[in-house]
Amino acid sequence: MVATIETEQTVKELGAQKYKYGFVTDIDMEKAPKGLNEDIIRFISAKKNEPEWMLEWRLKAYSRWLDMTSPDWAKLNIDPIDYQDAYYYAAPKSKDDGPKSLDEVDPELLRTYEKLGIPLKEQEMLAGVAVDAVFDSVSVATTYKKKLEEQGIIFCSISEAMRNHPELVRKYMGTVVPQGDNFFAALNSAVFTDGSFVYVPKGVRCPMELSTYFRINTADTGQFERTLIIADEGSYVSYLEGCTAPQRDENQLHAAVVELIALDNAEIKYSTVQNWYPGDENGVGGIYNFVTKRAACRGKNSKVSWTQVETGSAITWKYPSCILQGDNSVGEFYSVAITNNHQQADTGTKMIHLGKNTRSTIISKGISAGQADNTYRGLVSIMPKAEGARNFTQCDSLLIGDKCGAHTVPYIESKNPTARIEHEATTAKISEDQLFYCKQRGLGDEDAVGLIVNGFCKEVMKELPMEFSVEAQKLIGISLEGSVG
């Protein structure tokens, strides 16, 4: 109830605000030279004081990448990307080892995050949310670290994890998304610069939401972060991720890899509100978002739940997936993807059922407006040993206007007769009747659309943690601005 009411208020505040995160922070940056080659990779690795094995891992990924081609099966029109015309490392100039505490963080950076609604100073922090703030290529601050450490929870940047917890990183990194998994994963494996690392020990229920806030600031910079979350036996963690970038005329590349590992009886809830700069109404600029997210439900009774609200980016290519290995493990995917103007999204999930009595649920809501294209692409695969597996999929598309496209491409493969798969998909529009009804009750066009679309997305929105749901509902309204009337 409270959330609903806050929503109403926020939906109201929409007004005429456009992309409000489009500002640039003016701060001294240290960059690697433009382009990509072995020297750049060595430079990144050296900058981060990485152990030798890490450098080798990166170089191996790079050589794999050189032999790969960009995937072309998605329903996306992408201009060729010049991988030599970008910076692969950009970090705020600061003390050599990075800030030891928040007091050492450049005040300009703190102000940036404040402007984004993410205060990093401990006294002003969001209660109950620990934040890792990633600015271009590096993590600039992680809050509540101490408090989490008391329970044995490790929450830090992945660079720090490599130095302080190499055994965990070596054991798990690349085991869910191998270096050569796909073109963008290989690229990330070669050049990733930072990201978050979470380890929740056996039996611990993480007492607060963990969150990473990604910010691309520098022009011509790609952001390549890598996140690794391990939930040990019987543990629980809820992780949130948010993203913004300045408004620019050129496209910027974001190619991330996220690996989740849930052991016996563990649960990971991973929520994303993706609001990268989407480009302007003519399709100029915007982030190219190529993300490989995958979870391994390794243990019995483990559970991974992906929730995403995708409103930003010029291009979204993203399929958060679950490999359901453990018996009775559960995978969930809840998605809202909104495309407006010239945005293109090709997103969905893969649920790979390997273990007995594994269950998966997919709820996808695609909203397409302007001249945008929005595709759901998903795979449900039941392998021969997945006795009693269950999947339920619901994909709904909403079209606003007659220049956009909505597409649904599910792949269903079953090799076990005891498995049960149900898939439903519908396509509809906001009816004139609904709009008129809302207007008769006094709502303006944009408010009416925001309200109806939020209703359409409700099944997904209710999966978001409270801290995110308000912002997400607000975003839905903003992203659809100018789509009617």
Binding site: P384, D402, C404, H407, P410, N416, P417, R420, I421, H423
Partner: protein, 423 residues
């Protein structure tokens, strides 16, 4: 690869010698070029994602040059008492066909007696087997229903693949034109004498404005045989097209339908069932193009898969910009009756108009345990209960055939098949 392409094209010369006209010759030339340009499906061809064309290529089938008419036809064709045209390895058999008393308004002839419209609808580029048929067909059955005519009796095409010592490939070809306001029913039975045969069928169907066509197909080829078929259909304004396909034969079969809804206020029904057991691989691929506004599509496909059978359903619905008020619904269901059976479904929506109601649904699973138990509690044995439920599952498709005689004949064919399958 180019060896395989050349091998497949070996029959073109012989086909030209048997059937030639300026129109057909030009068509063949285009088809040969398209076939070469497209190449054969590989593991990376998205349209063939779930069906490997490798067995079709490895069969190394030789083109049929001539074949003698058999004395009698195998008994598994649809049993319908109606005018029948028999194709033996793609050539019309004068002796086996019974076309003496054609009803008024119905014309059935060979393409050698007139080829107008042949090749108008069938796509070539991107569809290697349709192109191959066009390059290699030895004859074509041309069926025409005159405008305004109601033809109550169906016309039946029986396409036989004969037994040969070495694998052979034939290219049966059918062209159906239903004139404005006409009403007709057409049935196809695809059967074989046994052995490794490869029937590569192409069918064109043009349903003019205000016309109604019921089009039924039984695919019951020999169990070692291959069957690939492309049906390209088009429906006009206020017209109705009903296409019902039941696949139960062949070791590997792919029935592809490309249906264009070209007229507003038309109705299209695509219904199908595939009944596989043993090592069978049965593929059903459909593509429906909603090219105009105010149209309806109702598509239902059901699969029953036993043994090590693999069933495929790929169904794409395209709604073009401006095709407003499209009402398109698709449902695909597969029943897996054994541990080794496999189902692959890929329903797909591609929509560019906002005022549409489109949906698809897909389910895969086994028979409902509580239904089985209910029937057992009423005294049925478990196998009898299974057979009853499977029968009901498939009959939901068969029962929707509008033509009474074709519906009954299809029901008999399905039940005869189940009698063997569940014996």
């Amino acid at each position: 690869m180019s060896d395989a392409l050349d091998h497949f094209l070996m029959g073109v010369g012989g086909a030209k010698a048997q059937l030639s006209s300026p129109h057909i010759d030009a068509l063949r030339d285009r088809a040969v070029a398209a076939f070469k340009a497209t190449g054969l499906p590989t593991a990376r061809t998205e349209a063939w994602k779930f069906t490997s064309a490798a067995p079709l290529i490895k069969a190394n089938a030789a083109p049929v040059v001539t074949s003698a008419d058999p004395e009698t036809l195998p008994a598994n064709a649809l049993a319908v008492d109606c005018p029948t045209v028999v194709l033996v390895d793609g050539a019309i058999s004068e002796t086996l066909s019974t076309l003496d008393n054609l009803p008024k308004g119905l014309t059935v002839r060979s393409a050698s007696a007139g080829d107008a419209g042949l090749g108008d609808l069938l796509p070539l580029e991107g569809f290697p087997f349709a192109a191959l048929n066009t390059a290699s067909f030895r004859d074509a059955v041309m069926i025409e229903v005159a405008a305004g005519q109601t033809v109550e009796t169906p016309v039946h095409i029986v396409s036989l693949s004969t037994h040969a010592k070495v694998p052979q490939i034939s290219h049966p070809r059918i062209c159906i034109k239903v004139g404005k306001g006409a009403i007709a029913a057409v049935a196809e039975s695809h059967i074989g004498e046994g052995g490794v045969s490869f029937a590569n069928v192409a069918v064109e169907v043009d349903v003019a404005d205000d016309a109604v066509l019921t089009h039924v197909k039984l695919q019951d080829e020999s169990r070692d045989g291959f069957h690939t078929a492309m049906t390209a259909s088009k429906v006009g304004e206020k017209a109705t097209y009903e296409n019902v396909v039941i696949q139960m034969g062949a070791s590997l079969a792919r029935n592809e339908i490309r249906h264009t809804i070209a007229g507003s206020h038309s109705e299209s029904r695509l219904l199908g069932a595939y009944l596989g057991d043993g090592d069978q691989h049965l593929d059903n691929t459909t593509f429906v193009d909603h090219a105009v506004a105010d149209t309806e599509l109702d598509e239902v496909y059901k699969g029953v898969l036993a043994g090590k059978a693999r069933g495929v359903f790929q169904g794409k619905i395209l709604v073009r910009p401006d095709s407003q008020r499209t009402d398109g619904n698709q449902m695909s269901r597969a029943l897996l009756l054994s541990d080794k059976a496999e189902a692959n479904l890929k329903p797909e929506l591609e929509i560019y108009a906002d005022d549409v109601k489109c949906s698809h649904g897909a389910t895969v699973g086994e028979l409902e345990e509580d239904q089985l138990f209910y029937l057992q509690a009423r005294g049925l044995s478990r196998p009898a209960a299974r057979a009853l439920l499977v029968d009901a599952f498939v009959m939901e498709i068969v029962d929707r055939i509008s033509s009474t005689s074709l519906r009954e004949a299809m029901a008999d064919a399905v039940r005869a098949h189940f009698a063997r399958m569940f014996k």
